[in-house]
Structure formats: structure tokens, C-alpha cells
């Protein structure tokens, strides 16, 4: 991103500017549907705001998992990363799909069994410590913040095409709508909405892919598997680095990134909360499988978009100048960041598809960003209201007070995200990957050991979470801070560290270290109380749950 700033002066973006009626109406209609569904299933009780009354089936919850999961980073970011980084970009595809298997086998049922509302709730109860719970809540807020920056960035790029307004105005407008929407509807609306959002986003993504394939004569029924000849053309005639395994990132970096994203999947609070919205463990398991299928449907297509986009960026059908045709970039792989992040919509536009069709593809990206941001903001608001305000500050807070704190948090975090997204420090996919690295280093070890080793103690968990926070946030600051304060020509504070611990991939080293810290500290501190051990054993028992206490009354 930083390197592309001088270029921005000469060359803005290949996206067609100007207000377009049909795409604008599509986005407005989409927002009306979301708000309508949200209003129809609006929040009445504080319990409903967070867990939707546990009345959702596996297929519906699977779609919600898909919509919640697939943000602008999946919809726009992954194709961008494959197009610009080639084989290295595929670490994002693997990392953001395969992790659901680990989540399923090691954690889904046990988490559902534990029966707590949120990640901080789980950590607070499992590690019998309100400090640990507060720390988990703070981490949830940080993750939501970093994750949402990328979403704001994606919304701004799509607004440029749809509404013809500036990137900055687009970020502000769409983030405003998101904040209003989440604060009004809450999760009961959101779960129903996420099903609708999934359908909209997957259809929009597919329509673009199929239409480009048909009009260019590249594919007919199954573009995922039909793009072989186009891929060969792209590699043999345009840029052979596209498939070269380690042209853009070493073997170590590839593995570190994939592992970070996989373990991050298992540590993200807004992903885990989807297991509490179902009746039982079996539904939790099958909705994970369905969710992964729905996620794969999009991820298999990202490579096809990168290939189509790469060819069209080199030889546009439409009479548009791209960085390649203008000679600003050597090949599509060095296109500027703003074009890369808009590549999914740009591919449809460069294939000379009609405005309304490109508009649908762009609206899908907005739906993806909106659905995920909603999920993130709900996690953040519940962390602030439930786990920080009520837990640490005012134990007798009324429902109304909690709702107000939750809504205030959404507003505050929304404003800060908007400000940072106006000048994003990295590509969409990279920003989101950073929040995965935090989730992997801070949450995954305490979740995993919390469920699978009854002797993990409070002190171990606290020490581990602090270690994970230092490693993951340190790695991020090491590279992004100099860019913000404009020092060191934008190079990392400690370049050697950035090679070993990249901001998006700190978990390959971070997670084993945190595991070691938790295990060693737990060995030297007193065992957890007997009640806590019994709760952990309950999670691994095939017998019906015996609830010692009903889920927290607030």
C-alpha cells in the first residue's frame, strides 16, 4: 500500500467512476431488506441480543457461519492476494477454509457443552478469574477493531464504483449504515439476516464469475475446474511467477501464514459465538460442516477470479486504462493495491459486462462486509457490556444499562474503525489476517488447553494470554507503526524480527510459546478447584448435561 502512494498521483484506479442507478438501487434495496429483516426479528430481551434464543437448525446456522465468516477479506481480499502474490496467496485460501476442520474436531461440541455465551464468559468461568475474563474482553475488542478496518476499506472501494463518490465518503457512509443497523437489530435479527446475506453474497459472487466465463468463452458450467487453459495462458504468456511456489514468500512464510490463519479460525470470538446459537452439540457439529461447504463454494472461486482478472487486467475488453496498459505496472501481479482489492468487481467491469451486473457483484462485497462487521460489533458490544461493565465495574447493572453500554461501544468502535479505514495500513486480506494472528496467539491456546487439559490454571491462562498479546500485537506494531508515524521510510522497527514474526503470521512461533508458558506456569501453581475440573469433564462426557447453574442471569 505504502509503495503505491506515488503511483496514486498519476494513476488512480481502473474502476469506472460515476454514479450508477441500478447498482445504487441494488445496494439500497439490500440495506432495506437487511433492516426490514432486522426490524421484523428485533431485540426484545437482552438475552436475545447475544444468542438468538438457541432455536436455529444446522443448515440455517451453517449459512450464518458462512456469512459471518466471509467478509470483504474473503470476497475481495483473497482474489486480490492470489492475483498479486500467486502461490503465496493460496496460503490464505487454505488458512481460511481448512481451520474449520480443527474447530470441529477439537472444539465445537465441547464449546457448546460448556454452555457459555461468549469467549470472555468461557475464559472467565473456566479459569475462575474475572481478570482473565476482562483480558479476554479487551482482546475481543482489539480483534473486532483490527478486523473491521479491512471491512471499512472494502466498503469504500465498492462505493467508488457504485455511487461514484470518493473512497473516503464511501467508508463513512457505509460504516454509518452498519453501525445503525447493528445497534437497532441485534443478533436475533442478525442470524436471520446472515442467512439472507449469505444467499445474496454467494449469488452475487457466482453471477460475476459465470458471466465473465460465458462472455469470454472461458467456462460454461463449472468455472472452478474449467480454468486450466486460462491459467496456463496466464503463466506461460503473462507472468510465470504466478504459479512459482516461493516467488513471493518463502516456504517458512507460507506455512507460518497458513498455520496462523488456521489457528486464528479456532480463536475468533465472533466465530465461536455461532455455536451457542444452536440447540445442541449435534447441530453445532453439522452446522460447522455445512458452514465449511458454504465457505468453500466461494473460496474455490477466488482462484478463478484471480485468473480471469489477471487476463482481463492485461487485455481489457472494455475500453479502460489499467496500470498494465498504461505501462505503470510490469504485469498484473504488480497492480496497485486499490485495484487488487477491487479485482472481483473490476474483473466483471473489464469484461465489459453491463453496469447492473457489475453492480450486483459490487453489492455482494458490501453485503459480505456488512454481515461480518455486524457479527464483530455484536461480539465487541457484548464483551464491553457483559464482561467489562457488568463483570468488573457494576455487578447490578440493569438490562437497560447493559444495552446502552453495548450500543455505545458499537458507536465508539465504529467511529475509530472509520477513521483508521480512511487510510488503511495494508491490503484488506492482510489486515484481517493480522486479527487472526491475535486470535491465534491469545485465544486459541487458552481455549484448547481449557477444554483439553483440566489442570490448566488461572495463573497459567493469564500468563499465556499476556505472552500471546505481546507477541502478536508486537509483531503488528513492529511493521505498521513506522508507516503511521512516517519514520524509517516505512521499514519495520526491527527488520530481522519482521522476517521471523510477520504481522499476519506470528502464530507459528507464538502459539507453541504460549502453550509452553501456560503448561509451565500451570505446573507450578495450585490446581484448579474441583468444581472447575468437573465442568471440564462434563464437556467430555456423553451423558446429558447436569447444569450446576443455569446460564448467567443478568
Amino acid at each position: 500500500m505504502i509503495e503505491s502512494i506515488p503511483m496514486v498521483l498519476a494513476y488512480q484506479t481502473a474502476l469506472d467512476p460515476g454514479f450508477k442507478w441500478f447498482p445504487a438501487l441494488t445496494v439500497i434495496l439490500m440495506m432495506v431488506i437487511f433492516l426490514g429483516v432486522g426490524w421484523f426479528f428485533r431485540v426484545a430481551e437482552v438475552d436475545d441480543l447475544w444468542v438468538a434464543g438457541r432455536s436455529i437448525g444446522p443448515l440455517e446456522n451453517g449459512m450464518a457461519i458462512g456469512a459471518n465468516w466471509m467478509s470483504a477479506a474473503s470476497y475481495l481480499g483473497v482474489a486480490a492476494l492470489i492475483a498479486t502474490l500467486g502461490y503465496y496467496g493460496l496460503a490464505y485460501v487454505v488458512g481460511w477454509t481448512a481451520g474449520y476442520f480443527i474447530l470441529l474436531i477439537f472444539m465445537a461440541s465441547q464449546f457448546r457443552r460448556f454452555g457459555k455465551y461468549t469467549a470472555p464468559d468461557f475464559i472467565g468461568d473456566r479459569f475462575y478469574s474475572s481478570k482473565a475474563r476482562g483480558l479476554a474482553a479487551a482482546t475481543t475488542l482489539i480483534i473486532a477493531f483490527v478486523y473491521a478496518i479491512g471491512q471499512g476499506s472494502g466498503m469504500g472501494l465498492m462505493a467508488q464504483y457504485i455511487l461514484g463518490i470518493s473512497y473516503e465518503a464511501g467508508v463513512i457512509l457505509f460504516m454509518g449504515v452498519t453501525i445503525g443497523y447493528v445497534a437497532l437489530s441485534g443478533m436475533l435479527g442478525a442470524t436471520k439476516n446472515m442467512t439472507v446475506q449469505y444467499v445474496i453474497l454467494i449469488l452475487a459472487f457466482m453471477v460475476g464469475l459465470y458471466a465473465v466465463g460465458w462472455t469470454q468463452g472461458w467456462s460454461t458450467f463449472f468455472p472452478y475446474l474449467e480454468i486450466g487453459p486460462q491459467m496456463a495462458e496466464l503463466i506461460d504468456e503473462v507472468d510465470r511467477h504466478f504459479a512459482e511456489p516461493f516467488a513471493n514468500g518463502s516456504f517458512y512464510l507460507w506455512c507460518a501464514l497458513a498455520v496462523s490463519l488456521i489457528l486464528g479460525t479456532c480463536g475468533l470470538p465472533h466465530v465461536l459465538v455461532r455455536f451457542y446459537t444452536v440447540d445442541n452439540e449435534r447441530t453445532a457439529r453439522w452446522s460447522t460442516v455445512w458452514g465449511l461447504l458454504f465457505i468453500c463454494l466461494l473460496y474455490w472461486g477466488t482462484a478463478a477470479y484471480a485468473v480471469f482478472g489477471g487476463l482481463l487486467y492485461t487485455n481489457p475488453v472494455q475500453d479502460t486504462d489499467t496500470a498494465v496498459t498504461l505501462g505503470e505496472a510490469a504485469t498484473f501481479m504488480s497492480m496497485p493495491g486499490a485495484d487488487a482489492d477491487a479485482l472481483v468487481a473490476l474483473t466483471a467491469q473489464l469484461a465489459d459486462l453491463p453496469d447492473w451486473l457489475v453492480g450486483i457483484v459490487a453489492s455482494g462485497a458490501v453485503a459480505a462486509a456488512l454481515a461480518t462487521t455486524a457479527g464483530l460489533f455484536i461480539s465487541a458490544s457484548s464483551a464491553a457490556a457483559h464482561d467489562i461493565y457488568t463483570n468488573l465495574y457494576k455487578a447490578d447493572a440493569t438490562q437497560r444499562e447493559q444495552l446502552n453500554v453495548g450500543r455505545g461501544t458499537i458507536l465508539a468502535i465504529g467511529i475509530v474503525v472509520t477513521i483508521v479505514a480512511l487510510n488503511p495500513p495494508a491490503l484488506i486480506g492482510e489486515l484481517v489476517a493480522m486479527s487472526f494472528a491475535i486470535a491465534a496467539c491469545v485465544f486459541f491456546p487458552v481455549f484448547f488447553l481449557g477444554l483439553w487439559w483440566e489442570n490448566a490454571t488461572r495463573e497459567g491462562a493469564l500468563a499465556g494470554m499476556i505472552t500471546g498479546m505481546v507477541i502478536s500485537v508486537g509483531a503488528i506494531l513492529n511493521t505498521t507503526l513506522p508507516r503511521y508515524i512516517d519514520a524509517l521510510d516505512g521499514h519495520a522497527l526491527w527488520p530481522g524480527l519482521a522476517q521471523v514474526l510477520p504481522p499476519t503470521s506470528s502464530a507459528l512461533i507464538g502459539v507453541p510459546l504460549v502453550f509452553a508458558v501456560i503448561i509451565v506456569v500451570s505446573r507450578f501453581t495450585d490446581d484448579p478447584p474441583q468444581e472447575v475440573k468437573r465442568i471440564v469433564r462434563q464437556c467430555h462426557s456423553p451423558q446429558p448435561e447436569v447444569r450446576a447453574e443455569p446460564t448467567e442471569e443478568s
Binding site: L90, A232, H540, P544
Partner: protein, 108 residues
């Protein structure tokens, strides 16, 4: 109903020392599938590291380099299939151990 007399609340939970037959059955399947998952997810990149020529020069399905195809298409698909296999196996285990998914109140 196997092993009705196991008191699950008195058995230690440690992933490397399964203390109940239920955990043993479950963990055995988990580790088998986990091994297959590693093979499918990290196999292609490891193969690309040791045999870059063979992995990129071999073309499948009309032009996909083998490394690209295995990583972008097969790895996510394998994770999906393995997830389905595990979910089915757990349903089977639930039947063997008589797990009911009704709420506890309906049980009694």
C-alpha cells in the same frame, strides 16, 4: 448403552491420556482424521518445496499446475470431506454411548 457405570465427572481430562472409553474412541478417530488433514493441507506445499519442478511442470485439467490445483482446490475440499466424516462418526458414537440431544429436562 455402553459403560453405564463410568462416572464421567470423576475422570481426568487430558488429551494425551484419555480416561474414559468414550474419550478414547473419540480421540482415536480425531487423530486419524487430523493426520489425513495434515497430509492434504500441508502435503502440497511441502511437495512444492522438495520438488518444485515436478509440481509446477505437471499440468492437470487442461493447464492447472499440480501445486496450484492441489492447494487451491483439493486442500479445502479435503478439509470439508474430513469434517463430514467426523460429524458422521460422532453421530455413530452418540448412538453407541446413548447420547441424547434433547434438553436435560426432557430426559427425566
Amino acid at each position: 448403552m455402553a459403560d453405564e457405570d463410568v462416572d464421567y465427572l470423576e475422570r481426568e481430562v487430558n488429551i494425551f491420556r484419555p480416561s474414559t472409553p468414550f474419550m478414547r474412541d473419540n480421540l482415536r478417530m480425531m487423530f486419524i482424521l487430523f493426520g489425513l488433514w495434515i497430509l492434504f493441507v500441508f502435503g502440497p506445499v511441502i511437495a512444492s518445496y522438495f520438488a518444485p519442478e515436478a509440481m509446477t511442470e505437471t499440468r492437470v485439467l487442461g493447464g492447472f499446475p499440480l501445486n496450484f490445483f492441489l492447494t487451491a482446490m483439493v486442500a479445502p475440499g479435503a478439509a470439508l470431506v474430513l469434517a463430514g466424516v467426523y460429524a458422521r462418526y460422532r453421530d455413530h458414537l452418540d448412538r453407541v454411548y446413548g447420547v441424547s440431544h434433547d434438553s436435560p429436562e426432557d430426559q427425566r
